[in-house]
């Protein structure tokens, strides 16, 4: 990609001044070797590189002349990242997003010069967003951020092993909200930092923040991505979305044509995903794992009904589904082989659904909450980003966290990676309101997550084993339910919830 820029001008309220003299980089901060000046007086970069002005501006308008070379695939993205106290929007203008997360004052810009932090995210668009942030972070603060990523299946142990031993390998980690209770004792409390820097936390959705980032009075992380679990479906094949699980099965049965290789639904059947699609059925049918005092209610008619329903659903899915991860399930839907897709849509469908190079269902899909059935509850997938207490560079880590969860970054992540933000202001942006992701906003207030206590991991694993073993015919219904109950009892006895913690979820 070759993109060149020519004259740049900044217009203030009453005058304009050129920023680039056409000869050298006077007035610009440039990484050596990243940008060059062509003989015809234009700036050129061969790759995605940052260049910024030395001078800081207040409100301004920027005139940019661009010269594209043949084959260029993108244009420069001018960024205005305010440094210092946020400038309030002019009276009468649309409400602006909360202040950006740059270092607190001009004097502290590049205060982390020469440092390196290591940040850990799940292998997915979240890690891609972290890499994008790392570039901006380095340009703004002088601190290099090395992004490490692991797949979900191994992320829990990688993170817990580091923080439980205070080894300080990672300065920032992204935590799945269901691990909050287990990780909280090993994480730094961010509330004092937010208070010190007058960082506004009120823009985060209350339900999301309650479930991702806050635990037992501590702010162990700031939520950075959230998705209520919704389904994708074919609008050309399903004129009216089913309101109950029985209706859903009927539609799947009607549409399945095995001779053509077309199935009613596409389900991720690997254990760690299949338990999620069962939980949604269970909760929306009115089931609970335990009451608020942790008395188990897992052995219930709803548990049995939801298990049976899931097993029946698999009859209308590709026979290979029990071995599918998320990507295989999403791929089947995008290739036009299924009418519904129960895989997390934000990990592929929203990004590629309308990309003709990756999808055969362009313009023929939409998102919808799972069948409401009795309660309409769905699962919340939310991630919060925090700082381990053993982190070696807590100051730089805090600045990275703020940049990653800033309103500007979050909007950028949505545009580039289709990541949904937990910020209320995010959902008011036109680009979000008019997108296919918009139906997810109402579900955010009803979405729940399973137990976030320390015993939650063991219980969730027991659910995985029981659900997958039953769904694939290895266990009968009684054995599956009895196994869950026994393992829950053992887990709660070995690792009881902290005193005072009620079961606020399910």
């Amino acid at each position: 990609m070759l993109v060149v820029m020519t004259a740049l001008a900044v217009c203030g309220f009453s005058k304009s001044e050129p920023l680039f003299n056409g000869r050298d980089f006077a007035g610009w901060r440039v990484e050596p070797g990243s940008w060059a000046i062509e003989p015809d007086g234009v700036m050129r970069a061969d790759e995605d590189r940052i260049i910024r002005t030395e001078e800081r501006f207040g409100r301004f308008a920027l005139d940019l002349d661009l010269k594209f070379k043949k084959g260029a695939k993108a244009a420069p993205e001018p960024e205005a990242t305010p440094v210092g106290r946020p400038v309030p929007p002019p009276a009468g203008s649309p409400a602006s997003a909360p202040a950006a997360s740059e270092p607190a004052s001009p004097e502290t810009a590049r205060k982390h010069e020469g440092k390196t932090i290591t940040v850990l995210f799940m292998s997915s668009v979240y890690a891609d967003a972290a890499r994008e942030t790392a570039r901006r972070f380095e340009a703004a603060t002088g601190c290099k951020a090395e992004v490490v990523d692991f797949p979900y299946v191994t992320l829990h142990e990688k993170e817990l092993l580091d923080i439980a031993t205070d080894s300080g390998t990672y300065d920032v980690i992204s935590i799945a909200c269901q691990w909050d209770g287990e990780f909280a004792p090993f994480m730094a409390d961010l509330a004092p930092l937010a208070e010190r820097d007058q960082y506004d936390l009120s823009d985060f959705n209350e339900n999301v923040f309650k479930n991702a980032g806050k635990w037992a009075g501590k702010t162990m992380g700031l939520p950075h991505a959230n998705t209520p679990y919704v389904m994708a479906y074919r609008t050309d094949l399903v004129p009216e979305f089913p309101a109950t699980w029985e209706q859903y099965l009927e539609i799947c049965k009607k549409l399945t044509d095995k001779s053509r290789g077309f199935y009613g639904t596409s389900v991720p059947g690997l254990k760690e995903q299949l338990n999620g699609v069962w939980m949604i059925r269970h909760w929306s049918m009115g089931g609970r794992w335990a009451d608020e005092n942790w008395n188990l209610t897992i052995d219930s008619p709803e548990t049995r009904r939801s298990l049976e329903h899931l097993k029946q659903t698999l009859e209308y899915a590709d026979p290979a589904a029990p071995a599918w991860g998320l990507q295989e399930s999403i791929a089947a839907f995008l290739q036009g082989n299924a009418a519904f897709c129960e895989a997390w849509p934000t990990l592929g469908v929203t990004l590629d659904g309308d990309n003709p190079q990756k999808s055969k269902i362009v313009g023929k899909w939409a998102l919808h909450e799972f069948p409401h059935d009795k309660t309409g509850k769905t699962m919340l997938s939310a991630w919060d980003v925090g700082i381990p207490r053993g982190a070696k560079n807590q100051g730089a880590a805090w600045d990275f966290v703020r940049m990653y969860v800033s309103a500007e970054s979050q909007l950028k992540f949505f545009e580039k990676f289709a990541i949904l933000s937990p910020r209320k202001s995010f959902w008011r942006q036109d680009v979000v309101k008019n997108s296919k992701s918009a139906p997810m906003e109402p579900a955010l207030d009803r979405a729940v997550v399973w137990w976030r206590i320390s015993a939650g991991t063991v219980c969730e694993t027991a659910v995985r084993d029981a659900v997958a073993s039953y769904a694939t015919g290895q266990w009968d219904l009684d054995k599956a339910v009895s196994y869950m109950k026994t393992e829950f009892q053992k887990a709660l006895a070995a690792n009881p919830p902290e005193p005072g913690i009620k079961n606020a979820g399910l």
Binding site: H156, P319, A320, D465, S469, Q474
Partner: protein, 301 residues
Amino acid sequence: MLIPRQIQNTFSDRMLSWAFLLPVVAILTVTALIPLLYGVYLSFHEYRLNIPGARPAFIGLRNYASLFADPFLRQSLRNNLLFAGLAVPLELALGLTLAMLLCDAGKLSRMLTTLLLIPTIIAPVAAGTLWRMMLDRTYGVVNYLATLAGLPAVAWLAHPFLALLSVVMVDVWQFTPFVAILVLSAIKGIPDTVLEAACMDGASPWQVFRHVILPMISPVLVIVIMIRMIDAFKVFDTVFVLTQGGPGNATEMLPNYIYRQGIRFFNVGYTSALAVCFIIAMFLASWIFLHLRNRMLLRSR
């Protein structure tokens, strides 16, 4: 000029031997013995790493008692025994056949022997990933070839029994060449005169194999079986990548289960008990095989 000295079992000779052994013993003590003893110590304690400030608390034999009450452990053990029971005999039979086919000294045999090593030098994780793609029901090359032959596409990794067979197949594909190489070395160690004598006595090829070659290489076969059997109970990477223990719990093996208890649940005490039992079982199995081998060696002398 070096003057050879007859080695005698003097005190200084013994001291010299120990001096050479000492570095190795020291390293093994630090890297193997101390961790092993610490693991044994922890196996008698309740200790969970994910509880802040947790310390090992002595609970006697409770961790060991829990092993017998754990249904998932029984399932993992059953799966592992089935896996070993299928994979090892297959590897032995195929490896022996390959070795017999390659035992002449021709250039082609030597070239094929080198090529045979390729699956063995691929990392198990890479092999698992490769086979996961090849066994994909829709896009995998295995089903593509099957459909070309008029057979239906099979969901190899989605059916419990087929998934276990797939894991066995990948293991056999990867380690049969290893078995073949070891057996080939043993076959090439048989004196030519013995084989010539058998042929001169009118023995058929099958009789030469059955009554001459097989008995003479049986000590090596026992060692090969022992190594592969122990490896079969250590299989982790292939299963993790290929099936993650699924579908359901159909391919959950002992190492995957121990990994789950230790690294996922951070239940250090129970995991140590599992590991200690595992080591004892492997030690016993090795002792049995070595004893068998020694008896065979004595008999052949």
